[in-house]
Amino acid sequence: MINISKEEAKNRIAKRIAQEFNVTKDIVFINLGVGIPTMVANYINNENVFIQAENGILGVGPLAEGDDIDFQLINAGRQPVTERKGCSYFDSSVSFGMIRGGHIDVTVIGAFEVDGEGNIANWIIPNGKQLGVGGAMDLVSGAGKVIIAMQHNGKDGKRKIKKSCTLPITGFQEADMVVTEWAVFSLYQGRLVLQEIASDITLDELKSRTEAEFKISDNLIEFKT
Protein backbone atom coordinates (compact mmCIF):
# COMPACT_ATOMS: atom_id res chain seq x y z
CA MET A 1 0.00 0.00 0.00
CA ILE A 2 1.54 3.20 -1.19
CA ASN A 3 1.14 6.47 0.58
CA ILE A 4 2.03 10.10 0.27
CA SER A 5 2.17 12.68 3.04
CA LYS A 6 -0.96 14.51 4.02
CA GLU A 7 0.62 17.76 2.90
CA GLU A 8 1.53 16.37 -0.50
CA ALA A 9 -1.95 14.89 -0.88
CA LYS A 10 -3.61 18.19 -0.15
CA ASN A 11 -1.38 20.14 -2.50
CA ARG A 12 -1.91 17.61 -5.24
CA ILE A 13 -5.68 17.99 -4.93
CA ALA A 14 -5.52 21.78 -4.80
CA LYS A 15 -3.20 21.94 -7.83
CA ARG A 16 -5.39 19.63 -9.88
CA ILE A 17 -8.52 21.62 -9.15
CA ALA A 18 -6.74 24.87 -9.96
CA GLN A 19 -6.14 23.48 -13.47
CA GLU A 20 -9.90 23.65 -14.00
CA PHE A 21 -9.65 27.39 -13.65
CA ASN A 22 -6.38 28.12 -15.41
CA VAL A 23 -7.66 27.65 -18.94
CA THR A 24 -10.87 29.68 -19.05
CA LYS A 25 -10.96 32.80 -21.18
CA ASP A 26 -14.37 33.67 -19.85
CA ILE A 27 -14.89 35.31 -16.50
CA VAL A 28 -15.60 32.71 -13.86
CA PHE A 29 -16.89 33.27 -10.32
CA ILE A 30 -15.98 30.72 -7.70
CA ASN A 31 -16.41 30.13 -4.00
CA LEU A 32 -13.85 28.11 -2.06
CA GLY A 33 -14.69 26.27 1.14
CA VAL A 34 -12.33 25.97 4.11
CA GLY A 35 -9.38 23.58 4.09
CA ILE A 36 -8.09 22.15 0.80
CA PRO A 37 -10.48 24.32 -1.26
CA THR A 38 -8.87 27.49 0.11
CA MET A 39 -5.47 26.14 -1.00
CA VAL A 40 -6.77 25.99 -4.58
CA ALA A 41 -6.43 29.77 -4.73
CA ASN A 42 -2.65 29.45 -4.35
CA TYR A 43 -2.43 27.67 -7.69
CA ILE A 44 -4.84 29.72 -9.79
CA ASN A 45 -2.95 32.04 -12.09
CA ASN A 46 -5.75 33.32 -14.24
CA GLU A 47 -7.04 36.82 -13.79
CA ASN A 48 -10.37 35.80 -15.29
CA VAL A 49 -11.24 33.88 -12.12
CA PHE A 50 -12.87 35.85 -9.32
CA ILE A 51 -13.21 34.44 -5.85
CA GLN A 52 -16.27 35.18 -3.76
CA ALA A 53 -16.32 34.59 -0.01
CA GLU A 54 -19.75 34.17 1.53
CA ASN A 55 -19.03 36.56 4.38
CA GLY A 56 -19.48 39.34 1.84
CA ILE A 57 -16.72 39.98 -0.67
CA LEU A 58 -16.28 39.43 -4.39
CA GLY A 59 -12.69 39.65 -5.55
CA VAL A 60 -10.72 37.96 -2.77
CA GLY A 61 -6.97 38.30 -3.31
CA PRO A 62 -4.12 36.20 -1.87
CA LEU A 63 -3.90 35.54 1.88
CA ALA A 64 -2.62 38.59 3.73
CA GLU A 65 0.76 38.49 5.44
CA GLY A 66 2.68 40.83 7.68
CA ASP A 67 1.74 44.46 7.32
CA ASP A 68 -0.97 43.63 4.78
CA ILE A 69 -3.08 41.96 7.42
CA ASP A 70 -6.34 43.78 8.16
CA PHE A 71 -8.33 41.85 10.72
CA GLN A 72 -11.58 43.23 9.38
CA LEU A 73 -10.88 41.71 5.97
CA ILE A 74 -11.23 37.95 6.13
CA ASN A 75 -12.47 35.07 4.04
CA ALA A 76 -15.15 32.66 5.24
CA GLY A 77 -12.45 30.56 6.93
CA ARG A 78 -11.54 33.57 9.10
CA GLN A 79 -8.16 33.96 7.36
CA PRO A 80 -6.96 37.51 6.68
CA VAL A 81 -7.00 38.09 2.95
CA THR A 82 -6.21 40.89 0.54
CA GLU A 83 -8.37 42.70 -2.01
CA ARG A 84 -8.16 42.36 -5.75
CA LYS A 85 -8.68 45.45 -7.86
CA GLY A 86 -12.39 45.94 -8.45
CA CYS A 87 -13.44 43.94 -5.41
CA SER A 88 -16.72 44.78 -3.74
CA TYR A 89 -18.33 44.30 -0.35
CA PHE A 90 -21.95 43.45 0.43
CA ASP A 91 -24.05 42.04 3.23
CA SER A 92 -24.72 38.36 3.84
CA SER A 93 -28.16 38.37 2.20
CA VAL A 94 -26.69 39.72 -1.04
CA SER A 95 -23.78 37.31 -0.78
CA PHE A 96 -26.06 34.30 -0.51
CA GLY A 97 -28.30 35.86 -3.13
CA MET A 98 -25.35 35.40 -5.50
CA ILE A 99 -24.99 31.79 -4.36
CA ARG A 100 -28.66 30.77 -4.19
CA GLY A 101 -29.47 32.70 -7.36
CA GLY A 102 -27.06 30.62 -9.44
CA HIS A 103 -24.57 33.42 -10.08
CA ILE A 104 -21.59 31.51 -8.65
CA ASP A 105 -20.25 29.25 -11.39
CA VAL A 106 -18.33 26.78 -9.25
CA THR A 107 -17.92 25.93 -5.60
CA VAL A 108 -15.03 23.85 -4.36
CA ILE A 109 -15.89 22.24 -1.09
CA GLY A 110 -14.54 19.58 1.25
CA ALA A 111 -16.52 16.54 2.36
CA PHE A 112 -16.59 13.82 4.98
CA GLU A 113 -18.21 11.52 2.45
CA VAL A 114 -19.47 11.57 -1.09
CA ASP A 115 -21.29 8.70 -2.74
CA GLY A 116 -21.75 7.14 -6.13
CA GLU A 117 -24.88 9.16 -6.79
CA GLY A 118 -23.19 12.46 -6.04
CA ASN A 119 -24.71 12.88 -2.62
CA ILE A 120 -22.47 14.92 -0.32
CA ALA A 121 -22.07 14.68 3.45
CA ASN A 122 -19.90 17.47 4.77
CA TRP A 123 -21.68 19.33 7.49
CA ILE A 124 -21.98 17.30 10.64
CA ILE A 125 -20.96 14.20 12.55
CA PRO A 126 -23.88 13.52 14.87
CA ASN A 127 -23.21 14.03 18.58
CA GLY A 128 -19.72 15.22 17.72
CA LYS A 129 -17.64 18.07 18.97
CA GLN A 130 -18.89 20.46 16.35
CA LEU A 131 -22.26 21.86 15.56
CA GLY A 132 -22.58 23.93 12.46
CA VAL A 133 -23.74 23.96 8.88
CA GLY A 134 -22.37 27.27 7.62
CA GLY A 135 -22.96 27.94 3.95
CA ALA A 136 -22.42 24.37 2.80
CA MET A 137 -26.04 23.58 1.96
CA ASP A 138 -26.54 26.88 0.18
CA LEU A 139 -23.37 26.38 -1.83
CA VAL A 140 -23.95 22.80 -3.01
CA SER A 141 -27.53 23.63 -3.91
CA GLY A 142 -26.93 27.02 -5.50
CA ALA A 143 -23.59 26.92 -7.30
CA GLY A 144 -23.48 25.97 -10.97
CA LYS A 145 -20.90 23.22 -10.47
CA VAL A 146 -19.81 21.49 -7.28
CA ILE A 147 -16.27 20.15 -7.04
CA ILE A 148 -15.49 17.98 -4.02
CA ALA A 149 -11.91 18.32 -2.77
CA MET A 150 -10.95 15.67 -0.25
CA GLN A 151 -8.35 13.09 0.62
CA HIS A 152 -9.31 9.74 -0.78
CA ASN A 153 -9.32 7.99 2.57
CA GLY A 154 -9.80 9.05 6.14
CA LYS A 155 -7.87 8.09 9.22
CA ASP A 156 -6.91 4.41 9.32
CA GLY A 157 -7.78 4.13 5.64
CA LYS A 158 -11.51 4.66 6.04
CA ARG A 159 -13.13 4.88 2.62
CA LYS A 160 -14.83 8.22 2.03
CA ILE A 161 -16.25 7.61 -1.43
CA LYS A 162 -19.17 5.50 -0.32
CA LYS A 163 -21.80 3.35 -1.95
CA SER A 164 -24.20 5.49 -0.03
CA CYS A 165 -23.44 8.28 2.43
CA THR A 166 -23.72 7.22 6.06
CA LEU A 167 -23.53 10.70 7.57
CA PRO A 168 -26.27 13.34 7.32
CA ILE A 169 -26.49 14.65 3.78
CA THR A 170 -25.63 18.22 2.78
CA GLY A 171 -27.11 17.93 -0.67
CA PHE A 172 -28.60 15.27 -2.88
CA GLN A 173 -26.92 14.47 -6.19
CA GLU A 174 -25.18 17.81 -6.14
CA ALA A 175 -21.54 16.71 -6.68
CA ASP A 176 -20.30 17.17 -10.25
CA MET A 177 -16.64 16.25 -9.76
CA VAL A 178 -14.60 14.60 -7.04
CA VAL A 179 -10.87 15.21 -6.83
CA THR A 180 -8.65 13.23 -4.43
CA GLU A 181 -4.90 12.74 -4.35
CA TRP A 182 -5.29 9.58 -6.44
CA ALA A 183 -8.05 10.26 -8.87
CA VAL A 184 -10.51 12.54 -10.57
CA PHE A 185 -14.11 11.39 -10.89
CA SER A 186 -16.98 13.03 -12.68
CA LEU A 187 -20.61 12.48 -11.94
CA TYR A 188 -22.80 12.01 -14.93
CA GLN A 189 -26.47 11.22 -14.65
CA GLY A 190 -26.03 10.02 -11.09
CA ARG A 191 -23.09 7.74 -11.94
CA LEU A 192 -19.52 8.02 -10.76
CA VAL A 193 -17.01 7.88 -13.62
CA LEU A 194 -13.22 7.67 -13.19
CA GLN A 195 -11.67 10.22 -15.51
CA GLU A 196 -8.08 10.41 -14.28
CA ILE A 197 -5.86 8.16 -12.19
CA ALA A 198 -2.50 9.02 -10.63
CA SER A 199 0.57 7.18 -11.93
CA ASP A 200 1.54 6.03 -8.44
CA ILE A 201 -1.56 3.97 -7.80
CA THR A 202 -2.97 0.95 -9.62
CA LEU A 203 -6.57 0.66 -10.66
CA ASP A 204 -6.98 -2.31 -8.33
CA GLU A 205 -5.63 -0.39 -5.38
CA LEU A 206 -7.86 2.57 -6.23
CA LYS A 207 -10.86 0.23 -6.31
CA SER A 208 -9.93 -1.24 -2.95
CA ARG A 209 -9.74 2.25 -1.48
CA THR A 210 -13.10 3.24 -2.91
CA GLU A 211 -16.32 1.80 -1.56
CA ALA A 212 -18.52 3.07 -4.35
CA GLU A 213 -18.54 1.29 -7.65
CA PHE A 214 -17.45 3.43 -10.53
CA LYS A 215 -17.39 3.32 -14.29
CA ILE A 216 -14.09 3.90 -16.06
CA SER A 217 -14.12 6.57 -18.70
CA ASP A 218 -13.29 5.50 -22.24
CA ASN A 219 -10.94 8.45 -22.21
CA LEU A 220 -9.22 7.67 -18.92
CA ILE A 221 -6.03 9.68 -18.60
CA GLU A 222 -3.24 10.12 -16.14
CA PHE A 223 -3.85 12.49 -13.21
CA LYS A 224 -1.20 15.18 -13.56
CA THR A 225 -0.62 18.32 -11.52
Binding site: K25, D26, F50, G86, G97, I99, G101, I104
Partner: protein, 219 residues
Protein backbone atom coordinates in the same frame (compact mmCIF):
# COMPACT_ATOMS: atom_id res chain seq x y z
CA UNK B 1 -19.79 32.67 -16.46
CA UNK B 2 -19.46 35.99 -18.20
CA UNK B 3 -17.71 36.97 -21.38
CA UNK B 4 -14.50 38.81 -20.71
CA UNK B 5 -15.20 41.40 -23.34
CA UNK B 6 -18.09 43.36 -22.01
CA UNK B 7 -18.08 46.37 -24.30
CA UNK B 8 -20.64 46.20 -27.06
CA UNK B 9 -21.84 48.66 -29.64
CA UNK B 10 -25.49 49.58 -29.11
CA UNK B 11 -26.90 47.55 -31.99
CA UNK B 12 -24.74 44.55 -31.18
CA UNK B 13 -26.16 44.64 -27.65
CA UNK B 14 -29.75 45.00 -28.83
CA UNK B 15 -29.33 42.12 -31.29
CA UNK B 16 -29.26 39.82 -28.23
CA UNK B 17 -32.99 40.45 -27.88
CA UNK B 18 -35.16 38.09 -29.89
CA UNK B 19 -38.74 38.15 -30.99
CA UNK B 20 -40.83 37.04 -28.02
CA UNK B 21 -38.13 37.80 -25.43
CA UNK B 22 -39.00 38.75 -21.88
CA UNK B 23 -37.22 42.05 -21.37
CA UNK B 24 -36.82 43.88 -18.06
CA UNK B 25 -36.18 47.58 -18.26
CA UNK B 26 -34.95 49.71 -15.37
CA UNK B 27 -36.25 53.16 -14.58
CA UNK B 28 -39.05 55.02 -12.87
CA UNK B 29 -40.98 57.73 -14.65
CA UNK B 30 -38.37 58.29 -17.38
CA UNK B 31 -35.59 58.58 -14.76
CA UNK B 32 -32.89 55.95 -14.67
CA UNK B 33 -34.13 54.15 -17.75
CA UNK B 34 -31.66 53.30 -20.52
CA UNK B 35 -32.83 55.78 -23.14
CA UNK B 36 -30.30 54.84 -25.81
CA UNK B 37 -30.96 51.11 -25.49
CA UNK B 38 -34.73 51.60 -25.55
CA UNK B 39 -34.42 53.84 -28.58
CA UNK B 40 -32.38 51.16 -30.37
CA UNK B 41 -34.90 48.50 -29.39
CA UNK B 42 -37.68 50.65 -30.83
CA UNK B 43 -35.73 51.05 -34.08
CA UNK B 44 -34.97 47.33 -34.25
CA UNK B 45 -38.61 46.50 -34.80
CA UNK B 46 -38.23 43.30 -32.73
CA UNK B 47 -41.73 42.42 -31.63
CA UNK B 48 -43.87 40.09 -29.58
CA UNK B 49 -42.04 41.37 -26.52
CA UNK B 50 -42.98 40.99 -22.89
CA UNK B 51 -41.82 44.17 -21.17
CA UNK B 52 -41.24 44.02 -17.43
CA UNK B 53 -40.91 47.55 -16.05
CA UNK B 54 -42.29 49.91 -13.44
CA UNK B 55 -44.13 52.03 -16.01
CA UNK B 56 -44.17 52.55 -19.77
CA UNK B 57 -42.79 56.07 -20.02
CA UNK B 58 -45.10 58.57 -21.64
CA UNK B 59 -47.14 58.25 -24.85
CA UNK B 60 -44.66 57.74 -27.67
CA UNK B 61 -41.72 58.48 -25.36
CA UNK B 62 -39.26 55.99 -23.91
CA UNK B 63 -40.88 52.57 -23.60
CA UNK B 64 -44.07 54.22 -24.83
CA UNK B 65 -42.53 54.09 -28.29
CA UNK B 66 -42.47 50.28 -28.23
CA UNK B 67 -46.21 50.32 -27.68
CA UNK B 68 -46.82 52.85 -30.46
CA UNK B 69 -44.70 50.62 -32.71
CA UNK B 70 -46.76 47.53 -31.91
CA UNK B 71 -43.74 45.67 -30.53
CA UNK B 72 -45.37 44.69 -27.26
CA UNK B 73 -47.38 41.56 -26.59
CA UNK B 74 -47.50 41.73 -22.83
CA UNK B 75 -46.66 44.04 -19.96
CA UNK B 76 -45.76 43.07 -16.41
CA UNK B 77 -45.50 46.11 -14.22
CA UNK B 78 -47.38 48.38 -11.92
CA UNK B 79 -47.97 51.98 -12.94
CA UNK B 80 -49.12 52.96 -16.40
CA UNK B 81 -51.00 56.12 -15.43
CA UNK B 82 -48.32 58.26 -17.03
CA UNK B 83 -49.04 56.61 -20.37
CA UNK B 84 -52.79 56.31 -21.10
CA UNK B 85 -51.95 54.45 -24.33
CA UNK B 86 -51.51 51.41 -22.13
CA UNK B 87 -55.05 51.42 -20.74
CA UNK B 88 -56.37 51.99 -24.23
CA UNK B 89 -54.39 49.14 -25.79
CA UNK B 90 -55.41 46.89 -22.92
CA UNK B 91 -59.09 47.83 -23.10
CA UNK B 92 -59.02 47.17 -26.84
CA UNK B 93 -57.45 43.76 -26.28
CA UNK B 94 -54.28 44.61 -28.16
CA UNK B 95 -51.94 43.82 -25.29
CA UNK B 96 -52.03 41.73 -22.16
CA UNK B 97 -51.20 43.48 -18.88
CA UNK B 98 -50.33 41.93 -15.53
CA UNK B 99 -50.41 44.49 -12.75
CA UNK B 100 -48.31 43.76 -9.67
CA UNK B 101 -48.17 46.15 -6.71
CA UNK B 102 -44.95 48.13 -6.93
CA UNK B 103 -43.38 46.69 -3.79
CA UNK B 104 -44.32 43.15 -4.71
CA UNK B 105 -42.97 43.82 -8.20
CA UNK B 106 -39.58 44.92 -6.82
CA UNK B 107 -39.44 42.03 -4.36
CA UNK B 108 -40.47 39.45 -6.96
CA UNK B 109 -37.68 40.59 -9.27
CA UNK B 110 -35.15 40.45 -6.46
CA UNK B 111 -36.51 37.00 -5.55
CA UNK B 112 -35.80 35.71 -9.05
CA UNK B 113 -32.28 37.06 -8.76
CA UNK B 114 -31.54 35.41 -5.43
CA UNK B 115 -33.09 32.00 -6.12
CA UNK B 116 -36.34 32.45 -4.21
CA UNK B 117 -39.18 31.02 -6.35
CA UNK B 118 -41.98 32.47 -4.23
CA UNK B 119 -42.68 34.43 -1.07
CA UNK B 120 -45.60 35.67 1.01
CA UNK B 121 -46.66 39.30 1.44
CA UNK B 122 -49.64 41.05 3.02
CA UNK B 123 -49.77 43.54 0.14
CA UNK B 124 -52.94 43.18 -2.00
CA UNK B 125 -54.64 40.61 0.24
CA UNK B 126 -58.37 40.90 -0.32
CA UNK B 127 -58.03 42.94 -3.50
CA UNK B 128 -58.58 42.09 -7.16
CA UNK B 129 -54.84 41.73 -7.65
CA UNK B 130 -54.80 38.82 -5.22
CA UNK B 131 -57.77 37.04 -6.73
CA UNK B 132 -56.77 33.57 -7.95
CA UNK B 133 -53.67 33.71 -5.79
CA UNK B 134 -53.05 31.52 -2.77
CA UNK B 135 -53.86 33.15 0.57
CA UNK B 136 -52.31 31.78 3.73
CA UNK B 137 -52.17 32.74 7.37
CA UNK B 138 -49.03 33.18 9.38
CA UNK B 139 -49.48 34.21 13.03
CA UNK B 140 -53.16 34.96 12.35
CA UNK B 141 -52.54 37.46 9.57
CA UNK B 142 -53.33 36.79 5.91
CA UNK B 143 -50.69 36.84 3.20
CA UNK B 144 -50.68 36.20 -0.52
CA UNK B 145 -48.18 33.94 -2.28
CA UNK B 146 -46.26 35.82 -4.97
CA UNK B 147 -44.00 34.24 -7.58
CA UNK B 148 -40.57 35.43 -8.66
CA UNK B 149 -40.37 37.46 -11.87
CA UNK B 150 -37.40 36.75 -14.15
CA UNK B 151 -36.43 37.79 -17.67
CA UNK B 152 -34.34 36.79 -20.65
CA UNK B 153 -32.69 40.17 -20.94
CA UNK B 154 -32.43 43.23 -18.70
CA UNK B 155 -31.81 46.69 -20.15
CA UNK B 156 -30.48 48.89 -17.41
CA UNK B 157 -29.02 52.29 -16.76
CA UNK B 158 -26.16 53.04 -14.38
CA UNK B 159 -24.08 56.12 -13.80
CA UNK B 160 -20.55 54.69 -13.79
CA UNK B 161 -19.11 51.27 -14.46
CA UNK B 162 -15.55 50.12 -14.02
CA UNK B 163 -14.00 47.94 -16.69
CA UNK B 164 -15.02 44.78 -14.90
CA UNK B 165 -18.66 45.86 -14.89
CA UNK B 166 -19.11 46.99 -11.30
CA UNK B 167 -21.82 49.64 -11.16
CA UNK B 168 -22.83 52.70 -9.22
CA UNK B 169 -25.97 54.75 -9.77
CA UNK B 170 -27.01 58.36 -9.45
CA UNK B 171 -29.64 59.50 -6.92
CA UNK B 172 -33.19 58.30 -7.66
CA UNK B 173 -32.08 56.95 -11.04
CA UNK B 174 -31.13 53.83 -9.07
CA UNK B 175 -34.68 52.52 -8.54
CA UNK B 176 -35.24 49.08 -10.10
CA UNK B 177 -31.88 48.77 -11.84
CA UNK B 178 -29.98 46.91 -9.09
CA UNK B 179 -32.66 44.24 -8.59
CA UNK B 180 -33.18 43.72 -12.31
CA UNK B 181 -29.41 43.22 -12.69
CA UNK B 182 -29.81 40.04 -10.62
CA UNK B 183 -32.90 38.67 -12.33
CA UNK B 184 -32.19 38.34 -16.05
CA UNK B 185 -30.18 35.76 -17.98
CA UNK B 186 -28.43 38.53 -19.91
CA UNK B 187 -27.82 41.93 -18.37
CA UNK B 188 -27.07 44.88 -20.65
CA UNK B 189 -26.21 48.17 -18.97
CA UNK B 190 -26.03 51.63 -20.49
CA UNK B 191 -23.58 53.78 -18.56
CA UNK B 192 -22.51 57.40 -18.71
CA UNK B 193 -18.91 56.71 -17.88
CA UNK B 194 -16.50 53.79 -17.71
CA UNK B 195 -13.54 54.01 -15.33
CA UNK B 196 -10.57 51.74 -14.67
CA UNK B 197 -11.07 48.72 -12.49
CA UNK B 198 -10.29 49.72 -8.92
CA UNK B 199 -11.44 53.32 -9.35
CA UNK B 200 -14.84 52.77 -7.77
CA UNK B 201 -14.85 52.58 -3.99
CA UNK B 202 -15.21 48.89 -3.06
CA UNK B 203 -17.57 49.77 -0.22
CA UNK B 204 -19.85 51.82 -2.49
CA UNK B 205 -20.29 49.49 -5.44
CA UNK B 206 -24.02 48.86 -5.65
CA UNK B 207 -24.05 46.16 -8.34
CA UNK B 208 -21.01 43.85 -8.31
CA UNK B 209 -19.81 42.80 -11.78
CA UNK B 210 -20.99 39.22 -11.24
CA UNK B 211 -24.43 40.49 -12.28
CA UNK B 212 -23.37 42.35 -15.45
CA UNK B 213 -22.85 40.89 -18.93
CA UNK B 214 -22.64 43.78 -21.37
CA UNK B 215 -21.77 47.46 -21.06
CA UNK B 216 -22.81 50.07 -23.58
CA UNK B 217 -21.44 53.55 -23.21
CA UNK B 218 -23.79 56.37 -24.03
CA UNK B 219 -22.03 58.49 -26.68
Amino acid sequence: MKHKHKFYAINEAISQIKQGSRVMVGGFGLRGYPDVLVEALAESGINDLTIISNDLGSPGIGLGKLLSNGQIKKLIGNYYNWNPDVAQAYNEGIIDVTLVPQGTFAEAIRAAGVGIPAFYTATSVGTELASNKEIREFSEKSYVLERAISADVALLKAYKADKLGNLIYYKTARNFNPVMAMAAKLVIVQVDEIVESGELNSESIVTPHIFVDILVKKE
